[in-house]
Symmetry: C2
Subunit: 316 residues, 2 copies
């Protein structure tokens, strides 16, 4: 097996691109794919300050390394959810990488940002844990990025995450999500620009890159992540892609480059599907709702329920 | 197991609708689903003349029966491709049903409509057989319907066919097909209205209905149908739907009712994606091409190649 670039001994095969690489050219390949996504979708420039959400898992940690290698001004943002040893191990990986690379990082505990521990919010909101975590992280990381004056917020969602999400939204007719699913969402008042520089790379690519670069990451599974639909959709996409390599890319980029612009264009054109622009009456941040944003409403629910329980505990 | 409607003994379970039926109420269920599609998408009315493409397979034969039961003015159209015993058995099923029901039918041989046997066109056009058959049937059945003054042309494509096609087009970024994929395509000059009354019913539903109604059909597989991608996409959709029943419907109707209108609307709005309207310089029928339509071009290719072979046979 020979490296497609230098014809030296290859160690890594990338079937999706029908190529083989030696270690140095695999590194180059990963960085080229990241750079290509950043440029094509105008995610951010070298003079901009980028805040990267780092969970401690392979994708965000590997992206952190790639952005440093590519010379971007990146700082990490880690929110520790307090899920016992899983969260402790994740934070440890983040701190260890930050120290080794001398990379700036901002670490918070969920409770100090939200005002309540995650498990308390889970109990009183009755939300599925992944929804609560997603809602919290979207709100909190945007607010931290806006208040810190960052130009862009980046995340480690890769092609496998995005195709699984896209498939799920298509299978279940989630038109709203489909209109917003894009590698980059431009800034709006109160909303920082959001980007996903790993859309051209898969789970496997990122595992290999993390290994090759000896990046510390926490490989454990989130204790709440069992049986989520996104795992099933990833499994379906892997099955499809094993049958015909390259399908993840044609599916995702066919959608975001060709269909998605027609959808958002259409929404803008007739106005009927366009979201209303509102600002939360509590925190002042942008929301698609009237009155309170979802996050502020959740916090009020928790405050109310917690008060009721403290007053005599009607429920057990 | 009790019938959801009458509480009598049920014989058929329909997991997608979370219901069970006795035989008479299963019949009713099928007819209700067909009627619902016809009305919702304004496919045709009771005073209109409908031409139904009947292959001799379970779907089109069962739809024929359902349209008769629902009192529509339907006539069958069968084109015998000349694929040996497969085609002979198919035509036999069509004739047998027509005689039993006293249902009008128009039967043609491929060669008398196309001017060449199917296998000759296949050899000289180098098209995959399913593409050639699709191109031929679309062209010929439209022309027969237009010249016969029919108000609508119907086909037996069911929810499994449509979701497999939709999935394939999404996975491979076929925006053009996605913009036209709809349960009904309105008439245009030279194009009859086209409709798919089985979009709310699956392969399994139609097999059961054909069995219950003792409809003669040819269950054999087309000799050219091996290893086509649509089988793989059906398999994927069945896997998804076994995991979460009802997904085929939410996928298909989410697309055609919510996304598809945005796509065609958008194409119309900016004009950039709208197809040019042209008429074939040979046959005069509508085409998306300039000059000759695809069908007339194929026939010219065959005429030219066949001539060259008769003149001395450059290729073997």
């Amino acid at each position: 097996m020979k490296c497609t670039v230098c014809r030296g001994p290859a160690e890594i095969r990338v079937p999706r691109h029908n190529t083989k690489f030696c270690i140095p050219h695999f590194r180059e390949h990963i960085l080229r794919q990241v750079k290509r996504s950043i440029r094509k979708y105008e995610m951010f420039g070298h003079s901009e300050r980028v805040l990267l959400s780092v969970s401690g898992g392979k994708d965000s940690m590997a992206l952190w390394k790639a952005l440093i290698e590519l010379g971007y001004q990146v700082e990490g943002l880690h929110i520790n959810n307090g899920f016992g040893s899983f969260s402790e191990e994740s934070e440890k990986a983040v701190r260890s990488f930050s120290e080794r690379q001398g990379a700036p990082v901002h670490i918070y505990r969920f409770q100090e940002l939200a005002g309540y521990p995650f498990e308390t919010m889970l109990r009183y909101t009755h939300m599925p844990p992944c929804s609560l975590c997603g809602t919290a992280k979207r709100y909190l990381s945007n607010r931290i990025a806006v208040e810190g004056g960052y130009d862009a917020l980046a995340s480690g969602h890769n092609l496998d995450d995005e195709t699984a999400f896209l498939l799920g939204n298509l299978l279940h007719g989630q038109t709203g999500y489909l209109q917003r699913q894009s590698p980059v969402l431009p800034a709006e008042p109160g909303l920082v620009r959001k980007s996903k520089p790993l859309v051209r790379l898969t789970d496997r690519d990122m595992s290999l890159y993390a290994q090759v670069e000896e990046i510390p990451y926490h490989g454990g599974q989130c204790p709440h992540a069992r049986k989520v639909m996104s795992h099933f959709h990833k499994e379906v996409m892997n099955y499809v892609s094993d049958h015909s390599p390259g399908t993840k890319g044609s599916f995702y980029f066919g959608f975001v480059d060709k269909l998605q612009p027609l959808l958002s264009g259409s929404a803008g054109a007739d106005g009927g599907e366009q979201e209303e622009v509102n600002y939360c009456t509590v925190c002042g941040y942008k929301t698609t709702r009237r009155g309170k944003c979802k996050w502020c409403e959740l916090k009020e629910t928790v405050a109310r329920e917690e008060g009721a329980h403290a007053d005599g505990g009607r429920n057990h």
